[in-house]
Symmetry: C2
Subunit: 362 residues, 2 copies
């Protein structure tokens, strides 16, 4: 056997939310509600034309530069096109950043618990990982700033955070950035940015204008409803973008993804509709959870973290048998918590109904 | 500015074949024939249904396991499903292999000239690259075997090779593998495998059964006509597959790619049709090139390497203005060669016509 890299030893595998198709296969269920992966419950109808437009060229490689979606996104965000880098979802942007900037044994600072991919991929990169616990379910930027050493190369900040649904403010971020040395890269993962209504949420694009050590990533997988096609983007200094492009596989963004993302930017009203739905349904869920005396964290995103105060394994099993997939968080070190994605009203109702059923029967 | 990794210094960027859309934009051309990126000139009509089937779930993440296409491919190849790893094109399989197995300063052996991504991505990985020149336009397995040292971790073999269109035989490969230590990984890139008609081409799947140090990659981008959707696969020992999956981004294969590849496996007759077309058109091109006294390398693939015996820059410019994109090879260190992909008959005719025009006018 050829030996794998040292950095792969004891690597935790990432276990994604259970797919609908898999649960249907396993339990022979007809109807399954997936409230596990923070997808929105709507299909963006406008992609139909975009998808069809690519079929006659499907035998041809996509444009390596993602030309059209790049031009359109640059106009939308009011940034120069050379500040944009596209990834096969935010996941690939995380990997590309590590591959371009982090040497083996460099220190990477990560919140804990947070989105698991930061740790897994930093470990693959051979980085030394320093974990700073969240405080009151929020990223603790002050402690993170104090944790920076000469060996620190990069800091991941999920804002809003997953699985907590909380965020750090513009003011907090500015204070934090003023303490970060210029040779340390800060990666702001704003995958859930579109859902945030709060006025004190960071204006990261403005912060980027005067700082070269920031990468901001966003995605079309969440609010835009395009998780199935895989496209995300980073905004950063053009020189940083060049480094990311240097390690990028030339055809990382396929034709359908480029066309769908381009159509998505022309149809922002869809996102507005989604946001309104989420706000309304979060209110419903908060109310029902309160009635059940369950503690939850108020969320600025499309998911809610619930403190079940006992191990959620049996609850999870129960819900799966009822055809409802939520996200148990034992892998995050939170065995007594679970995360539920805001779904359609009937899905949220079914979730609450079966949750009640479980609590009654226990 | 945050410093990039040392390994990125002096990195050559990969310059893909010029996209049709780009040339149309630049020269305001209506008709452009792309004979630059070894795509087949047919659109696989059977993907239509596969693509449509995914639209109603486009807001949902794809299955991380690529379940259906994995099961189908395993049956097709008669291998166990856990021997398969899917990549966002072969490119990603190359990157995943380097990320899983190659430590910084490990030695990687690469033929020269060959597919450029091996060198670029090995350099990103921080590997020491040892180049072994091809001999008579073919991979020189004997010299490669002799070049192996204690520091060698991995060897890339493009078979058939790109840009030469030549291959190494089963017998040569067996002899070679018998000389390769078990701790050295051999990556056989068989992207053009489907085009090969020769009976002495390696039976790599059989070789894989008794050897753990082989990764074989293939792709749906070439003979299957799915370059636009990005999916390739590796076959290897299950333990090696596990290492690749450990570094893989969970949702690297999008919904359309999984569905299209699955449909492709049900429609192998399409590939047979493609192969027959290529054989016929290669005969036409060989004949016409011979009439023009141009030297070419006989190819087992869908492209032909032409020895122009003088710098091809002016020829390339001339053809671009006529709306014909071929692949100049200066970046491969072959400024007097160019590569032409076998297209539709009318495309091949137009290529020959304009090639004649250039030769007359010079």
């Amino acid at each position: 056997m050829v030996s794998a890299r040292r950095s792969l030893k004891n690597l935790k595998a990432y276990k994604p939310g259970k797919p609908v198709e898999e649960l249907k296969r396993e339990l022979d269920l007809k109807e399954v509600y997936k409230l596990a992966s923070n997808e929105i419950p709507f299909v963006p109808a406008y992609i139909f034309k975009a998808v069809l437009s690519q079929i006659p060229q499907i035998n041809r490689y996509p444009e390596a530069s993602s030309h059209y979606v790049r031009q359109k996104l640059a106009r939308t965000l009011k940034v120069k096109p050379d500040r944009l880098v596209f990834g096969n979802g935010s996941d690939e942007l995380i990997v590309m950043t590590l591959r371009a900037f982090v040497e083996e044994r460099d220190e990477v600072i990560i919140g804990t618990p947070t989105f698991l991919i930061y740790e897994i991929q930093s470990q693959v990169a051979g980085a030394r990982i320093k974990k700073v616990p969240l405080r009151d379910y929020r990223y603790d930027l002050e402690t993170i700033a104090r944790a920076i050493t000469k060996k620190t190369k990069m800091i991941f900040i999920a804002n809003p955070d997953n699985p907590h649904g909380t965020y750090v403010t513009h003011e907090e971020v500015v204070k934090f950035l003023n303490k970060v040395p210029k040779n340390v890269l800060v990666f702001f993962d704003e995958a859930y940015f579109e859902f945030v209504m709060n006025k004190d949420y960071p204006r990261t694009l403005a912060l980027l204008k005067t700082r070269k050590n920031i990468i901001m990533s966003r995605t079309f997988s969440k609010a835009y409803g395009l998780a199935g096609v895989r496209i995300g983007y980073a905004v950063c200094d053009p020189e940083v973008a060049q480094c990311l492009n240097n390690v990028r596989e030339p055809f990382n963004i396929d034709r359908f993804a480029q066309a769908c993302a381009s159509a998505a930017l022309d149809n922002y009203r869809f996102v507005e509709k989604v946001k309104n739905h989420i706000v309304k349904e979060k209110r419903y869920l908060y109310r029902e959870l309160a009635k059940l005396n369950l503690e939850y964290i108020e969320s600025v995103t499309n998911f809610i973290l619930i403190n079940f105060k006992k191990d959620t394994a049996r609850l999870n099993e129960y819900l799966l048998r009822k055809g409802i997939i939520v996200r148990p968080l034992a892998e995050w070190g939170l065995p007594e918590f679970f995360r539920v994605t805001v779904g359609l009203h009937k899905e949220n109702e079914a979730f609450i109904r079966h949750l009640k059923g479980f609590l009654k029967n226990k």
